[in-house]
Subunit: 134 residues, 2 copies
Protein backbone atom coordinates (compact mmCIF):
# COMPACT_ATOMS: atom_id res chain seq x y z
CA UNK A 1 0.00 0.00 0.00
CA UNK A 2 1.25 3.46 -0.88
CA UNK A 3 2.60 5.68 1.86
CA UNK A 4 0.24 7.97 3.70
CA UNK A 5 1.41 11.57 3.91
CA UNK A 6 0.21 14.77 5.56
CA UNK A 7 1.73 18.25 5.18
CA UNK A 8 1.10 20.54 8.11
CA UNK A 9 1.82 24.28 8.14
CA UNK A 10 2.04 26.53 11.17
CA UNK A 11 -0.37 29.47 11.05
CA UNK A 12 0.11 31.18 14.43
CA UNK A 13 0.05 30.33 18.14
CA UNK A 14 -1.12 26.73 18.42
CA UNK A 15 -2.88 26.75 15.04
CA UNK A 16 -1.84 24.61 12.08
CA UNK A 17 -3.38 23.67 8.74
CA UNK A 18 -2.90 20.03 7.76
CA UNK A 19 -3.29 18.79 4.18
CA UNK A 20 -3.86 15.20 3.05
CA UNK A 21 -4.55 14.27 -0.57
CA UNK A 22 -5.87 17.78 -1.29
CA UNK A 23 -8.14 17.93 1.78
CA UNK A 24 -7.35 20.47 4.48
CA UNK A 25 -8.23 20.56 8.17
CA UNK A 26 -7.27 22.95 10.93
CA UNK A 27 -5.56 21.73 14.08
CA UNK A 28 -5.58 24.02 17.11
CA UNK A 29 -4.20 23.26 20.54
CA UNK A 30 -6.56 25.93 21.90
CA UNK A 31 -9.49 24.25 20.07
CA UNK A 32 -10.79 27.64 18.89
CA UNK A 33 -10.21 27.10 15.18
CA UNK A 34 -9.82 23.37 14.85
CA UNK A 35 -9.62 20.00 16.53
CA UNK A 36 -7.00 19.57 19.21
CA UNK A 37 -4.31 17.20 17.90
CA UNK A 38 -5.18 14.36 20.25
CA UNK A 39 -8.89 14.57 19.38
CA UNK A 40 -7.89 13.75 15.79
CA UNK A 41 -6.97 10.26 17.00
CA UNK A 42 -10.50 9.82 18.36
CA UNK A 43 -12.04 11.12 15.12
CA UNK A 44 -9.73 8.79 13.23
CA UNK A 45 -10.87 5.83 15.30
CA UNK A 46 -14.53 6.76 14.73
CA UNK A 47 -14.03 7.14 10.98
CA UNK A 48 -11.97 3.97 10.62
CA UNK A 49 -14.36 1.79 12.59
CA UNK A 50 -17.43 3.56 11.18
CA UNK A 51 -16.36 2.78 7.62
CA UNK A 52 -15.91 -0.90 8.55
CA UNK A 53 -19.27 -1.14 10.31
CA UNK A 54 -21.15 0.48 7.40
CA UNK A 55 -19.41 -1.87 4.98
CA UNK A 56 -20.00 -5.03 7.03
CA UNK A 57 -23.66 -4.20 7.78
CA UNK A 58 -24.24 -3.62 4.06
CA UNK A 59 -22.68 -7.01 3.31
CA UNK A 60 -24.91 -8.58 6.00
CA UNK A 61 -27.96 -6.91 4.34
CA UNK A 62 -28.76 -5.18 7.62
CA UNK A 63 -30.82 -2.02 7.05
CA UNK A 64 -29.94 0.95 9.25
CA UNK A 65 -29.83 4.74 9.33
CA UNK A 66 -28.85 7.64 11.61
CA UNK A 67 -25.49 6.08 12.40
CA UNK A 68 -23.18 8.01 14.72
CA UNK A 69 -20.18 7.22 16.90
CA UNK A 70 -19.06 9.00 20.05
CA UNK A 71 -15.50 8.38 21.21
CA UNK A 72 -14.32 9.49 24.61
CA UNK A 73 -11.04 9.12 26.49
CA UNK A 74 -9.58 10.36 29.75
CA UNK A 75 -5.89 11.23 29.76
CA UNK A 76 -3.10 10.48 32.18
CA UNK A 77 -1.94 13.35 34.40
CA UNK A 78 1.81 13.20 33.69
CA UNK A 79 3.65 14.14 30.47
CA UNK A 80 3.45 12.68 27.93
CA UNK A 81 -0.31 12.66 28.49
CA UNK A 82 -1.79 9.59 26.82
CA UNK A 83 -5.24 8.06 26.69
CA UNK A 84 -6.60 5.88 29.44
CA UNK A 85 -9.30 3.46 28.30
CA UNK A 86 -11.19 4.61 25.21
CA UNK A 87 -14.97 4.37 25.30
CA UNK A 88 -16.83 4.14 21.97
CA UNK A 89 -20.61 4.48 21.69
CA UNK A 90 -22.14 3.26 18.42
CA UNK A 91 -25.64 4.61 17.87
CA UNK A 92 -27.93 3.65 14.98
CA UNK A 93 -31.52 3.22 13.96
CA UNK A 94 -32.26 -0.39 13.01
CA UNK A 95 -34.60 -3.25 13.97
CA UNK A 96 -33.92 -4.33 17.55
CA UNK A 97 -33.29 -7.92 16.51
CA UNK A 98 -30.29 -6.77 14.47
CA UNK A 99 -28.35 -6.10 17.68
CA UNK A 100 -26.24 -9.27 17.51
CA UNK A 101 -25.31 -8.56 13.88
CA UNK A 102 -24.36 -5.00 14.77
CA UNK A 103 -22.14 -6.26 17.59
CA UNK A 104 -20.56 -8.78 15.24
CA UNK A 105 -19.77 -6.00 12.75
CA UNK A 106 -18.24 -3.85 15.50
CA UNK A 107 -16.16 -6.74 16.86
CA UNK A 108 -14.86 -7.53 13.37
CA UNK A 109 -13.90 -3.88 12.96
CA UNK A 110 -12.23 -3.33 16.33
CA UNK A 111 -10.48 -6.73 16.43
CA UNK A 112 -9.65 -7.47 12.79
CA UNK A 113 -9.99 -4.66 10.24
CA UNK A 114 -9.54 -1.23 11.77
CA UNK A 115 -5.88 -0.24 11.77
CA UNK A 116 -6.48 2.80 13.98
CA UNK A 117 -8.03 0.53 16.60
CA UNK A 118 -5.08 -1.89 16.33
CA UNK A 119 -2.61 0.95 16.90
CA UNK A 120 -4.44 2.68 19.75
CA UNK A 121 -5.01 -0.65 21.52
CA UNK A 122 -1.25 -0.88 21.98
CA UNK A 123 -1.63 2.05 24.40
CA UNK A 124 -4.99 1.43 26.08
CA UNK A 125 -8.09 -0.74 25.99
CA UNK A 126 -11.02 0.17 23.73
CA UNK A 127 -14.49 -0.59 25.11
CA UNK A 128 -17.80 -0.07 23.37
CA UNK A 129 -21.54 0.07 23.81
CA UNK A 130 -24.32 -0.01 21.21
CA UNK A 131 -27.48 2.08 21.35
CA UNK A 132 -30.33 1.07 19.05
CA UNK A 133 -32.52 4.11 18.35
CA UNK A 134 -36.27 3.89 17.96
Amino acid sequence: MAALKTSTTWIKGQEFESEHDGNKINVDGDKKNGHGPKALLLSGLAGCSGIDVVDILHKMKVEFSDFSIDVEADQTEEHPKVFKDIQVTYRLKTATDNLEKVKKAINLSLDKYCGVSAMLKKNSAINYTVEILN
Copy 2:
Protein backbone atom coordinates in the same frame (compact mmCIF):
# COMPACT_ATOMS: atom_id res chain seq x y z
CA MET B 1 -7.61 16.49 32.82
CA ALA B 2 -11.12 16.46 31.43
CA ALA B 3 -12.12 13.74 29.02
CA LEU B 4 -11.63 14.30 25.32
CA LYS B 5 -14.68 13.58 23.22
CA THR B 6 -15.56 13.50 19.53
CA SER B 7 -19.00 12.97 18.00
CA THR B 8 -18.94 11.52 14.51
CA THR B 9 -21.95 11.27 12.21
CA TRP B 10 -22.25 9.14 9.09
CA ILE B 11 -23.09 11.15 5.98
CA LYS B 12 -22.99 8.57 3.16
CA GLY B 13 -20.66 5.94 1.72
CA GLN B 14 -17.35 6.30 3.56
CA GLU B 15 -18.00 9.93 4.56
CA PHE B 16 -18.40 11.11 8.14
CA GLU B 17 -18.48 14.47 9.90
CA SER B 18 -16.61 14.56 13.20
CA GLU B 19 -17.18 17.24 15.82
CA HIS B 20 -14.87 18.18 18.69
CA ASP B 21 -15.52 21.14 20.98
CA GLY B 22 -17.63 22.84 18.29
CA ASN B 23 -15.10 22.30 15.48
CA LYS B 24 -16.06 20.03 12.60
CA ILE B 25 -13.97 18.08 10.14
CA ASN B 26 -14.88 15.64 7.41
CA VAL B 27 -13.46 12.13 7.36
CA ASP B 28 -13.67 10.18 4.11
CA GLY B 29 -12.26 6.73 3.43
CA ASP B 30 -12.26 7.65 -0.27
CA LYS B 31 -10.37 10.89 0.53
CA LYS B 32 -12.62 12.89 -1.80
CA ASN B 33 -14.28 15.03 0.84
CA GLY B 34 -12.00 14.71 3.83
CA HIS B 35 -8.94 13.14 5.36
CA GLY B 36 -8.79 9.38 5.44
CA PRO B 37 -9.14 8.22 9.06
CA LYS B 38 -5.59 6.97 9.38
CA ALA B 39 -4.17 10.22 7.99
CA LEU B 40 -5.79 11.98 10.97
CA LEU B 41 -3.24 10.22 13.18
CA LEU B 42 -0.42 11.74 11.13
CA SER B 43 -2.02 15.20 11.24
CA GLY B 44 -2.48 14.73 14.98
CA LEU B 45 1.19 13.86 15.40
CA ALA B 46 2.23 16.92 13.37
CA GLY B 47 -0.05 19.23 15.37
CA CYS B 48 0.93 17.79 18.74
CA SER B 49 4.65 17.94 18.10
CA GLY B 50 4.40 21.23 16.20
CA ILE B 51 2.72 22.91 19.16
CA ASP B 52 5.52 21.67 21.45
CA VAL B 53 8.29 22.80 19.12
CA VAL B 54 6.80 26.30 18.68
CA ASP B 55 6.41 26.60 22.44
CA ILE B 56 9.92 25.34 23.26
CA LEU B 57 11.63 27.47 20.60
CA HIS B 58 9.82 30.54 21.93
CA LYS B 59 11.04 29.71 25.43
CA MET B 60 14.57 29.29 24.04
CA LYS B 61 14.26 32.73 22.35
CA VAL B 62 14.97 31.11 18.99
CA GLU B 63 13.57 33.21 16.13
CA PHE B 64 12.02 31.27 13.27
CA SER B 65 9.30 31.40 10.61
CA ASP B 66 7.80 29.32 7.79
CA PHE B 67 7.46 26.26 10.02
CA SER B 68 5.94 23.14 8.49
CA ILE B 69 5.91 19.43 9.26
CA ASP B 70 5.52 16.55 6.82
CA VAL B 71 4.59 13.17 8.28
CA GLU B 72 4.76 10.02 6.21
CA ALA B 73 4.14 6.35 6.97
CA ASP B 74 3.99 3.13 5.02
CA GLN B 75 1.42 0.58 6.08
CA THR B 76 1.58 -3.16 6.61
CA GLU B 77 -0.06 -5.32 3.93
CA GLU B 78 -2.26 -7.50 6.15
CA HIS B 79 -5.40 -6.48 8.10
CA PRO B 80 -5.43 -4.64 10.39
CA LYS B 81 -3.14 -2.38 8.37
CA VAL B 82 -0.98 -0.39 10.75
CA PHE B 83 1.89 2.05 10.28
CA LYS B 84 5.41 0.91 9.70
CA ASP B 85 8.06 3.44 10.78
CA ILE B 86 6.82 7.04 10.77
CA GLN B 87 9.06 9.64 9.12
CA VAL B 88 8.67 13.27 10.23
CA THR B 89 10.30 16.18 8.38
CA TYR B 90 10.46 19.46 10.31
CA ARG B 91 11.12 22.43 8.02
CA LEU B 92 11.68 26.00 9.21
CA LYS B 93 13.44 29.24 8.41
CA THR B 94 15.94 30.18 11.10
CA ALA B 95 19.65 30.95 11.51
CA THR B 96 21.73 27.87 10.64
CA ASP B 97 23.44 27.90 14.01
CA ASN B 98 20.08 27.28 15.70
CA LEU B 99 20.07 23.69 14.39
CA GLU B 100 21.08 22.09 17.69
CA LYS B 101 18.43 24.03 19.59
CA VAL B 102 15.80 23.00 17.05
CA LYS B 103 16.83 19.35 17.43
CA LYS B 104 16.68 19.69 21.21
CA ALA B 105 13.14 21.09 20.96
CA ILE B 106 12.07 18.23 18.69
CA ASN B 107 13.62 15.59 20.95
CA LEU B 108 11.88 17.07 23.98
CA SER B 109 8.59 16.93 22.09
CA LEU B 110 8.88 13.42 20.66
CA ASP B 111 10.40 11.87 23.78
CA LYS B 112 8.80 13.79 26.65
CA TYR B 113 5.81 16.02 25.92
CA CYS B 114 3.85 14.87 22.88
CA GLY B 115 1.20 12.35 23.90
CA VAL B 116 0.38 11.46 20.29
CA SER B 117 4.03 10.53 19.75
CA ALA B 118 4.06 8.48 22.96
CA MET B 119 1.00 6.53 21.80
CA LEU B 120 2.05 5.96 18.18
CA LYS B 121 5.54 4.87 19.29
CA LYS B 122 3.92 1.87 20.96
CA ASN B 123 3.16 0.64 17.44
CA SER B 124 6.17 1.81 15.40
CA ALA B 125 9.32 3.91 15.53
CA ILE B 126 9.18 7.63 14.76
CA ASN B 127 12.22 9.05 12.95
CA TYR B 128 12.80 12.67 11.99
CA THR B 129 14.91 15.01 9.92
CA VAL B 130 15.23 18.80 10.08
CA GLU B 131 15.49 21.10 7.07
CA ILE B 132 16.66 24.66 7.69
CA LEU B 133 15.34 26.93 4.94
CA ASN B 134 17.33 29.85 3.56
